[in-house]
């Protein structure tokens, strides 16, 4: 499908304007379905093993509600800024889009810093990947999510560079759209992490 056949004007959904763009978005939802299963397996493992602490600290000893609330707020807010970026993209407002994507990336980075601080704190408390089955399954789950955040930050930053260089067109729009879907998915996973890992851990 020739890209030139699509007139670029505000209000046109450039991300699905070409056959290639449509396939990208379609394929990405397939990928998200698979990611859901990946995280489900890690959640299931964690829930089955979370009480096997081998005399080490338990979730109730470790988890700090304030820290979790801040991390949750950061990620939820970054999901909103990512939506604003896509709305700016559909209006062909490149400056606005790059601004909101920049905010999204910065919020992602602060989430990551907070998580690293949290993990270092836990390691000092004797909660490590190898300390118990609780430790292994906790770090496997929350660490995989953190790895997704890291990848998302790098991905969105590189596509921001492309958009800055080439503008918003049928080539860059699907990439921007798909990376924002990925970012929302990271927040979706976090909703279950704060519920089933942190809050459930505090209940005991």
């Amino acid at each position: 499908m020739a890209h030139d056949s699509v007139e670029i004007k505000p209000g046109v959904h450039l991300e699905t304007a070409t056959f290639e763009g449509k396939n990208k978005v379609m394929g990405f939802w397939m990928f998200l379905g698979a990611e859901t299963v990946l995280f489900a397996c890690l959640f299931g493992t964690y829930l089955a093993l979370r009480n096997q602490t081998v005399n080490g600290p338990s979730g109730a000893d470790l988890f700090d509600p304030v820290l979790v609330a801040v991390a949750t707020a950061i990620l939820l807010f970054s999901s909103l800024t990512s939506v604003f970026a896509m709305m700016a993209m559909n209006k062909l407002d490149k400056k606005g889009m790059l601004f909101w994507l920049g905010v999204t990336v910065l919020l992602g980075l602060s989430f990551l810093v907070l998580e690293i601080y949290e993990f270092i704190h836990y390691i000092h408390e004797g909660h490590t990947f190898m300390s118990s089955a609780f430790g292994s399954s906790f770090y496997a789950l929350v660490g995989t999510h953190g790895a997704h955040v890291t990848f998302g930050i790098i991905w969105i930053s590189t596509i921001m560079y492309q958009a800055w260089k080439w503008g918003i067109n049928t080539e860059t729009a699907p990439k921007l759209f798909v990376s924002s879907l990925y970012w929302h998915f990271i927040d979706v996973v976090w909703v279950f992490i704060f519920t089933l890992v942190y809050l459930l851990g505090m209940v005991g």
Partner: protein, 102 residues
Amino acid sequence: MADQNTSNTQPPEHKPESKMKHIVSFGAMILLTVAAFVLVLRDVVPVVWVLPLMLGFAVIQVLLQLFTFMHLDQKGSFYYILFIAFGVMVAVISVTGLVFMP
């Protein structure tokens, strides 16, 4: 599924999504998050109710996220919903199996 034809003609013009819709949805997500925290940090309901209620809040929040922020409410999302629903189905089976495995 009107959008599924793979034509290269002009894509239909959409009305620009309202910022309001996303802000309202975001507000609802914040409220659901706060509600989950309150359930755990304050003794408002009996302990047995905490997990089912929290899970309910999480599911509503994720549906909001999928249908507003991830645009599944727009036309032509049938296959996207199909794929993610299939993923969720396998996910639920896997989690249930793992948790209740002896």
